[in-house]
């Protein structure tokens, strides 16, 4: 499946990624290649097979409502910058 330039630019915009012209061209090539695998899958005859997103056969896998995680002093992630426990990010402003 061929991915056109606009599709790459749209996905980049939705993912909040700034791509250079070269990046767009490279992604166009790479994404197209990846989707070729889907074309291979599409060759399988699925007539009469119900669509599913699951294969385990499990249903209603739920957990009881109890607090089991302790309060943590430090974030288990490498945030580039923190402030009083909060993660610092580039300014985003509502409204």
């Amino acid at each position: 499946m061929e991915i056109d330039r606009q599709a790459v630019e749209k996905v980049a915009r939705l993912a909040r990624l700034a791509l250079s012209d070269d990046d767009v061209a490279a992604n166009q090539r790479q994404l197209s290649k990846i989707l070729e695998y889907i074309d291979q899958l599409n060759e399988v005859d699925t007539k009469g097979v119900p669509p599913t997103a699951q294969v385990t056969g499990t249903v209603n896998a739920l957990a009881d409502d109890e607090v089991r995680n302790e309060r943590r002093d430090e974030l288990p992630i490498d945030a580039p910058a923190t402030d009083g426990g909060s993660i610092k990010v580039k300014g985003v402003f509502d409204g």
């Binding site: 749209k10 915009r13 939705l14 993912a15 909040r16 997103a53 699951q54 385990t56 499990t58 249903v59 209603n60 896998a61 739920l62 957990a63 009881d64 409502d65 109890e66 607090v67 089991r68 995680n69 309060r71 943590r72 002093d73 974030l75 288990p76 992630i77 910058a81 402030d83 009083g84 426990g85 909060s86 993660i87 610092k88 990010v89 580039k90 300014g91 985003v92 402003f93 509502d94 409204g95």
Partner: protein, 498 residues
Amino acid sequence: MSGASRYEAVIGLEIHVQLRTKSKMFCRCDNQADGAKPNELTCPVCLGLPGALPVPNRTAVEWAIKAALALGCAIPDESKFDRKQYFYPDLPKGYQISQYDQPFGGPGTFEFDMVEDGKTVTKQIGITRLHLEEDAGKLTHPKGADYSLVDLNRAGTPLAEIVTEPDLRSPAEAKRFLQELRRLMRYLGISDADMEKGHLRADANISLRKPGEKKLGTKTELKNLNSFRFVERGLAAEIERQTELLDAGKSVDQETRGFDEDGNRTVSQRGKEEAHDYRYFPEPDIPPLEPKALGIKKLVKGLPELPVEVKRRFITEYGLQPDQAELLTDSLDDVEYFEASLKAAMSGKNKINDRTKAAQNISKIAYGIGRQIMTKKMLNSFMELDWPGSYPSVTGVGARYLASGEYTMSTLNPVMERIWEEDLDPEKTLEKEKPQKLGQSDLDKIIDQAIADNPKPAADFKAGNENAKQVIVGAVMKATKGAANAREVAQLVEKKLS
């Protein structure tokens, strides 16, 4: 303005209700984020770290189904979770686990009563769907800074999203719907539903059309109406804006808008929406759900008497006015309190035999004296007074003494307040503090004195100024410390002066 009559407003709401489970939606982090330090209540699941496995909270799922049942929704045989992709700093995974095409609640109807033009009208609002999802984190923007701060304590908190049909026709009706919905959530015990704390968040869709027109006009979406006042004022401002556009022959653009409180107008937030292209797909990490296998019968049995029914019962059975019933049924605790008080009022040696009378007196005490104490203690709700178990009987005993005529509201007030604050025995205290019963001759004397003390109002009344007698009545009430009956005093004063 007059716009309301030229056009009919068509309003639908989307409400997020924060569920008060102990742990989060898909991990076992503490869900009570009040007072926690930023990011203290997080784990690999709610931080969206690779390899973490989300497991839905059984209680949250049961509560969502409970809410759906209370809203008259059909419960599907199969349900599932989906990923909704979008990128924002408060969403660590890059997607939100939500429900797309198989929500827990199918179409339903929510019924409530409201007073319009002095008449009680029953409203039936269609519910499109109810689904379960997780909340995002909290972003704050320090003043003057060029950065924002992310706190993920709230990321993963369970939310029930309720979407209505465009069945609401005015800002007042929309506000009322929300208030009734809040009451329902509290009755069900699944949310604190405090709008100020963000437990209940509303967005609205609104369009206008000519009365009688079937086709819907172009709608706008009004975001973040986070208080009842905002809902009413924001919608009114948007109706006015759309009315002006249509009157001028212009068209309404379909867009997202926000309410600017200071300017009392709505403003476009077009930059924010981009294309809403969420690319939903089934959440591969969570097996599907079969709600009916979760014990629906038990959930149905566990449903409380719904607020609309309780209120109707308070009006028909106890003879209360709609506004009294409204206050007395604010929460299930209130209902229980009222009914225990009623029982206390209708038993004992000076019991009240007339149920309506007993109900009226309890209403007077609960929302006259009780409210006064609440205000003094800066409390929001009657129940926050933290009553010991015996307290409904205090109100009931008070109601009895009010009914027997031994106390008036003004003489009862200070004694009840003391009983409540010092935890005294109500019966003994009310008996001991009983005001001196005023004999007719005592009252006569006091009234004569009051007239003598107020010659000008007395003369004014004689000259035809009806209101002037209030000064004298006031003086008598003061002299008797409220023990006299104001209406009786007014009649006596009138008789003496004419």
